[in-house]
Symmetry: C2
Subunit: 409 residues, 2 copies
């Protein structure tokens, strides 16, 4: 902790010397430095809380043992049955059901492993490092009797710990457990502020300056802050459409930020969008294929989270997201080429109508999904290319963006 | 074409005004401008050739028709049986077998579609735009009788056209057919020069300046050029290891460029590594899991290409790549935690030994794979975390890099 706080103080912006040739430059640099310092201070405070929470949980176990009582740890049950959808908060929430792990002869190993894993987390926070699930599994190979035999075991323990601390408002990323996957790609009217993990020096990453390439989101984003005047974030399902919008600088003409989801968005991508939207108060519009997968997997996961990881929703979902398209009505209005719905599509759509608390609480979504089922077809976002490769840029998106009130919730 | 050539002339570097405050800055900016102009000139010349080739193929068809003869188009056969491995060139090559499509009553539709697809390509080159396979499929929906009913049909026609022109040294990207997938992530001692597609203005993208994030490779890279003093390119299988090396700035201490493969590398990633390595004359080292998938799918595809797309190998494979690890011998030397080989692993390894021309022509690889089969285990690159999360940075990679002569071919 001491190390982190110290670095926060010597924080400077790398681009400052270059940019600070005019008043505007100096102001921008100062503001970047201030912003990053504020985020660093918030994170340092959060780190203190995280360590405190780990200490408390461990102290409680220790006290029980000292009193010769059986210690226990209680975790929220992670299953669809222990999930509720709060229309007010706008995301899936984990319920109150708990499972209790008491230290007995039979549970001694997994109990010890849980404590070691909490110890690893504490160490990672203290050294400002991170571990993936795989890293943690292999780390355990040096824990002698407490080592895991299979990664599935260590994954479960990690998930339990996350669920435990999530009920205290602490996310997986604050515990320094990060995903193994890539973040998505970003381009447009955005400057990302990223302080160096050792020196605290702030890198200003200008997402208008990537040419035809893009900014790749790191696997954890808690330390980032942002500067932007963009009017909205456009979250795009396919790499092809993202590349078209990026190459033709759609972000410039529309003053927006493009994010490539590349299918169901990774945790880092979701968290990045959420953080960016929250901190800069900009709306998020989703642009995905018009099929039950695009609607009920990609969009629903982005917006309200997923059922079996509801303990993460409070950090990762983007409840402010709205659905720009492609909508079932667009198939009619734009006379789009379609494919017939497959059995798996029909099953997914019916499931959504019947079982998904999100769709069940939004009439307009029920109507849209029923319309899709009735038409018996699906359409990809690239189907707009029927009218010309750049029709999406020149016609479809501008027209849609003129009628934002009509976006599905 | 006129448009492209014109833009090449007014080419400037965006960062020039900022950077050109000292002699070095001015020199760097000039050199960036020169380099990008050189690449633009080469590409413009290639575009001329591409259009010429399309014209010739079409003119030939036209001439036959005028003479009232049946026109035909002949394509290389795209199958494993028509592939050879050239140890000298170092990649899979497509053989001499051809299939001929003659215009008859039965083939009239696919013949027409092939010509329209070639026409689309010509149009894309002329407008400096691009299309994915999906884009092309949907574009065809306005081709009246020549429209495709299924994307699989348009994909086949596109593949045929690519194979046809590949025998004349023209790549899919030169035809402006680009993949729908993301490129990988890049960080380290590299400046990417990316000229704007409309103004020709050059963006200098400094890959040391992304904080914990990274540069995301665009779906086509032909227009890029590079500035680097890096000693090598490290191609990394997993996002987790890439993030660790990036966050801890391994590229700085080792003066290298990190590229995340994220599994079997996409076409854009392979082409990016190849182009970068060729143009800047820097070696490529692969760092992947020690299992038959990592060796015979990820590494082999990166290095020599894949059997069923051999017509692309000349552009996409990286014959100069060498295998840093994880090697079967590393499992012994570093006492790594392992998993038993699954049946599918054993099958894949035996297939490689028996049928793969690449492994068949390298004794050291045969020995390594046989060793793996004998041990009956596999190890992930993150298994090194057993010795500490940053052991890979502090011990493993430096030790390996001291013995580059021992890298597997």
């Amino acid at each position: 902790m001491a190390a982190r706080k110290k670095t926060a103080k010597k924080k400077t912006t790398k681009t400052a010397s270059k940019a600070a040739t005019g008043k505007t430059g100096r102001r921008a640099a100062n503001s970047a430095q201030d912003k990053a310092a504020r985020v660093a201070a918030i994170n340092a405070a959060k780190d203190d809380v995280t360590i405190q929470q780990i200490r408390e949980a461990a102290t409680d176990v220790h006290k029980h043992i000292m009193k010769k009582a059986k210690p226990d740890l209680s975790f929220p049950v992670r299953s669809l049955k222990n999930v509720s959808y709060s229309t007010k908060r706008g995301y899936f929430e984990i319920g109150k059901q708990k499972k209790v792990r008491t230290l007995t002869v039979n549970t001694v190993k997994s109990f010890a492993q849980t404590l070691r894993m909490m110890g690893l987390s504490k160490e990672l926070v203290e050294t400002n490092d991170f571990a993936t699930k795989r890293d943690a599994y292999y780390q355990s190979k040096n824990w002698e009797d407490a080592k895991f035999d299979e990664q599935s075991e260590s994954d479960t323990v990690m998930d339990d710990i996350e669920a435990l601390f999530s009920t205290r408002g602490t996310s997986r990323e604050q515990l320094r457990f990060v995903p193994d996957e890539h973040g998505g790609a970003v381009a447009g009217q955005l400057v990302v502020l990223d302080p160096d993990r050792e020196t605290g020096e702030v890198e200003r990453i200008d997402c208008t300056r990537f040419g035809s390439g893009a900014y790749s989101i790191p696997s954890t984003v808690e330390h980032l802050s942002f500067e932007t005047d963009a009017k909205f974030i456009l979250a795009i399902e396919t790499g092809g459409v993202f590349q078209r919008l990026q190459s033709h600088k759609f972000w410039q003409t529309s003053n927006c930020i493009l994010v490539s989801l590349a299918g169901v968005p990774t945790r880092a991508t979701r968290r990045f969008i959420r953080k960016l939207s929250d901190e800069c108060k900009i709306p998020v519009y989703a642009f995905v294929d018009c099929d039950p997968y695009g609607i009920s997997n990609i969009y629903r996961t982005l917006k309200v989270g997923s059922g079996n990881a509801a303990h993460l929703s409070q950090f990762f979902c983007v409840p402010q997201a709205r659905y720009l398209g492609v909508t079932p009505q667009d198939i009619v209005d734009y006379d789009l080429p379609t494919h017939p719905l497959l059995d798996v599509d029909i099953k997914r759509a019916k499931d959504a109508l019947k079982n998904d608390p999100f769709f069940k609480s939004h009439k307009s979504w029920q109507k849209a999904i029923e319309q899709l089922l009735k038409m018996g077809v699906r359409a990809e976002q690239q189907a707009l290319a029927k009218w010309g490769l750049n029709y999406v840029i020149e016609e479809y998106l501008p027209r849609k963006l003129d009628q934002r009130a009509n976006f599905l919730p």
